[in-house]
């Protein structure tokens, strides 16, 4: 454990909390402005982008499993059920 290892932990921790505090300040400011709609839209957009980034460039098995997971999610509206069935479908398709 050198001073460089310590420095990396310290700088990374400071950067991480600074980004979060920037979000806290931005959120409070936006909430009281005429752009409050941004806070309603952001969560869905970030989650959709997270899903898209994890599907990009993946083989058809992953896309098919994702489509089936979407059907399960719409039908059940339950995170755990979708996750479990999603894994089963993914593993089954990978065996083909």
């Amino acid at each position: 454990m050198t001073s460089s290892h310590w420095a990396l932990i310290l700088v990374l921790a400071l950067a991480a909390i600074s980004i979060r505090i920037a979000g806290l300040l931005a959120g409070d400011r936006i909430r009281t402005s005429s752009h409050a709609w941004v806070l309603d839209e952001l969560p869905g957009l970030i989650v959709v982008s997270l899903v898209a980034a994890s599907l990009a460039g993946q083989p058809w098995q992953v896309w098919s499993a994702a489509a089936l997971a979407l059907v399960v999610a719409i039908t059940t509206n339950h995170v755990l059920v979708t996750m479990c069935l999603g894994i089963i479908v993914f593993a089954s398709l990978n065996m083909i």
């Binding site: 990374l12 991480a16 936006i30 941004v38 969560p43 869905g44 899903v51 992953v62 509206n77 995170v79």
Partner: protein
């Protein structure tokens, strides 16, 4: 708080395996197990930590490695901003604690559950966040301590487990047809950015921003052409 802590357990179990793998990587770069736990507790940003340690392993440049890791975490500006309503009414100290223990999984789960019931709020976020940061800290330190070879996690569908969970959370956040075009734009942009070679974390930020732009254009158009 207990409700959030229980609800996040399946996702925490998945994160633990990734944490173990990261601990292994960090140990190979010279971080003792206790310092890996320390980093996880104070940074609490999985992708940032992984990239920073990888960069550090390659070049031993502290600032460059930390900046690369931090840049991957920029989506947290939007994530924390979107919690404004959930955190309203908490003391500044409680807010700072809450945003530190907020990660992708417990944030998305809190907001998708909140869309179903407005009773879900800060206690759910904090309960689920406490479980996630504890599991992340212990699993990363354990990975560095035990250093055992891991099986191929992708083969068991672990990566897809998170994708499926986020798909379900997206459904929970769906508010109707007005979401369709902005979500399609965000989805398409994020895919295009990854295919163009951009790191996934930047593609997520680009996707969310393009979706916001689409939503803004729709609102302006509706105002001009009622």
């Amino acid at each position: 708080m207990k409700q959030g802590a229980i609800a996040i357990l399946p996702l925490a179990a998945g994160a633990a395996l990734y944490g173990f793998a990261f601990g292994l990587l960090a140990a190979q770069v010279g971080f003792p197990w206790w310092s890996v736990g320390l980093m996880s507790a104070f940074v609490h940003a999985g992708s940032s930590q992984i990239v920073a340690v990888e960069q550090f392993a390659n070049a031993q440049m502290v600032l460059g490695a930390a900046l690369a890791g931090a840049a991957l975490n920029l989506r947290y500006i939007g994530i924390v901003a979107s919690l404004s309503d959930v955190l309203a009414g908490l003391s500044l100290r409680a807010k700072l604690c809450a945003i530190h223990i907020t990660g992708d999984e417990n944030w998305a789960l809190t907001l998708s559950e909140r869309a179903k019931s407005q009773e879900v709020g800060a206690p759910f976020l904090i309960g689920s966040g406490l479980v996630m940061i504890s599991v992340w800290t212990v699993s990363t330190a354990s990975g560095a301590l035990l250093g055992a070879a891991l099986p191929d996690l992708e083969r068991f569908g672990l990566g897809f487990a998170f994708t499926a969970a986020f798909i379900a959370m997206a459904c929970g956040l769906w508010r109707g047809r007005s979401n369709a075009l902005p979500w399609a734009v965000a989805f398409g942009t994020a895919i295009a950015m990854v295919l163009l070679g951009l790191p996934k974390a930047y593609a997520i930020v680009a996707g969310a921003l393009s979706g916001l732009l689409a939503s803004y254009v729709i609102r302006q158009t509706a105002r001009i052409l009622p």
